[in-house]
Amino acid sequence: MTQISVRNVWKEYGEQVVLEQINLEIAPRSFVALVGPSGCGKTTFLRMLLSQETPTKGEILIDGIPISPEPGPDRGVVFQRYSVFPHLTVLGNVLLGAELKGGGVLGRLFGTARRQAKEEAVKLLDAVGLSHALEKYPAQLSGGMQQRLALAQALIAKPKVLLLDEPFGALDPGIRGDVHKLMRQLWHEHPMSVVMVTHDLSEAFHLATRVIAFDRRRNLPEERLRYGASITNDIEVWPRRVAGNPDFGKEPTLPRRDDPAQADGHPDRDDPADAA
């Protein structure tokens, strides 16, 4: 059930030590938020989980097996930008996952297989609130809609691990609230672990089961190259959130100061399609 083990991982770029001695066990069905100052190596760490980079030392295992040396469908990803394909419609973007998996040399499905995949895609798009925009292209969507699409697209491949690199950083605070709600719901519904990088502590505590902070322990200018960041905080969120148990993970009780101005009456306020 997708245990991720990070064992004594170091990452260096030439002279510069970016991460040092990272040891981490991520339990199945966790939702880990990764926070830390800019440049401390959060993205680098996520890239290693994705096999976009290899650790200089140490190893990363999923369920006890070293991860494959290249990205694969076991690990899904949503980046801050550029996660969806501009040449495919909303539906096409989500279908792509199914087509690449089952579509053979052409990477396309036909007939029944396609119909089935389409049904599934539409269901997912419905879940992320995009069922009314199936035939639109990403450039016609707002930023929030694009990130929701990217989520649906990643989920159709049924990854064991979903990696998110500041997925909501570019969104307006109001819209961000909507997407947070959605994100929590998806995590409850899909059997996966989530690792999310964020700059926003409140987001981290709002969503995750566990918040991990990276930072450099030695930070004098002359030591910057020689010492990388490592884990400085590892906080279990309380009250505990349990995957598949949305009751415990509900809205925080305090109203958030950065909630949208006119949240009600504009269910889709970031939706340029409506305005057109």
């Binding site: 690990r75 550029y82 998996k101 040399v105 990477g107 990643a154 491949a157 990854p159």
Partner: protein
């Protein structure tokens, strides 16, 4: 108001746009009148009637010897060569550009060679070309291909580099292998950009075609221009030049329309990038 903020209205706009064309026409008319006054059969800057005559002769009267209407024959011949050359270059450029843009091994092999090849002046190695492909249609098409292909490959390689790396990663997490990634993710995004590259290379393609036709040919727009140059028949050359310019313009327009129609997503995606 600052000059940069002053905009002509629609009428002024059209008048202004027509102005330089008018000036050129007037300059020509003056020059022509002066020369014709000196020598009524001057050939360099013929008068209007000569043009009408020449156009009538080339575009509407069948040739005495062959029965062909020369302008149409030339146009059809040249366009066939041009289209064939560009089509082959585009197909080849797409294939090689895609392979070299995506696969590091192919790129290592081809990138330096293509860079060097794109700088060889193709006209200078024509003799070798003749030996390899003969003197027929093939040689003209090949010259276009040889001249345009390396530029297309280079262009496409750069354009594949410009695709966000994240897309390639994402596609792999969705289960793409190298091949499906190429045909489902990269190819469809590169096609509209290929059209841009082709548009940029239309000018050089015409140049190569005209040069090739000047060297050995029996018909074609470039052939006719160089043939009648032998008796300084500017009354034929200038309408031919105008006609080539128009064709070039129409091809450019056609490619733009094709890009918009075939890739409706592209314009928005480019604007929002």
């Amino acid at each position: 108001m600052r000059l940069i903020n002053r905009r002509p209205d629609r009428t002024s706009w059209m008048l202004l746009a027509a102005l330089p064309f008018l000036l050129v026409l007037i300059a020509y008319a003056l020059g022509s009148a002066v020369r014709l006054a000196e020598n009524p059969s001057d050939k360099l800057l013929p008068g209007l009637t000569s043009f009408v005559d020449a156009i009538d002769r080339m575009a509407f009267t069948p040739d005495k010897r062959t029965g062909d209407i020369l302008l149409w024959l030339d146009t059809a011949t040249s366009l066939a060569r041009l289209v064939a050359g560009i089509a082959i270059a585009a197909a080849g450029g797409l294939l090689v550009g895609l392979a070299a843009g995506l696969l590091p091994y192919v790129r290592a092999t081809l990138a330096p060679f293509v860079t060097v090849a794109s700088m060889v002046p193709p006209l200078a190695v024509l003799p070798i070309l003749f030996i390899v492909v003969g003197l027929g249609e093939a040689s003209k098409i090949t010259l276009i291909v040889v001249g345009v292909l390396p530029c297309l490959i280079r262009d496409l390689m750069l354009k594949i580099d410009d695709l966000p790396r994240q897309q390639l990663i994402k596609a792999q997490t969705l289960g793409a292998n190298s091949w499906t990634l190429a045909i489902r993710v990269v190819l469809p995004q590169i096609l509209p950009r290929l059209i841009d590259s082709i548009r940029l290379n239309l000018g050089p393609a015409w140049l190569f075609l005209i040069s090739a036709e000047a060297i050995a040919s029996e018909a074609g727009l470039g052939y006719r221009i160089f043939l009648v140059r032998r008796y300084l028949a500017m009354d034929v050359i200038l309408p031919y030049v105008a006609w080539i310019t128009l064709l070039c313009f129409l091809m450019d327009l056609g490619l733009r329309v094709l890009q918009r129609r075939a890739f409706p997503w592209f314009e928005d995606a480019r604007a929002s990038a």
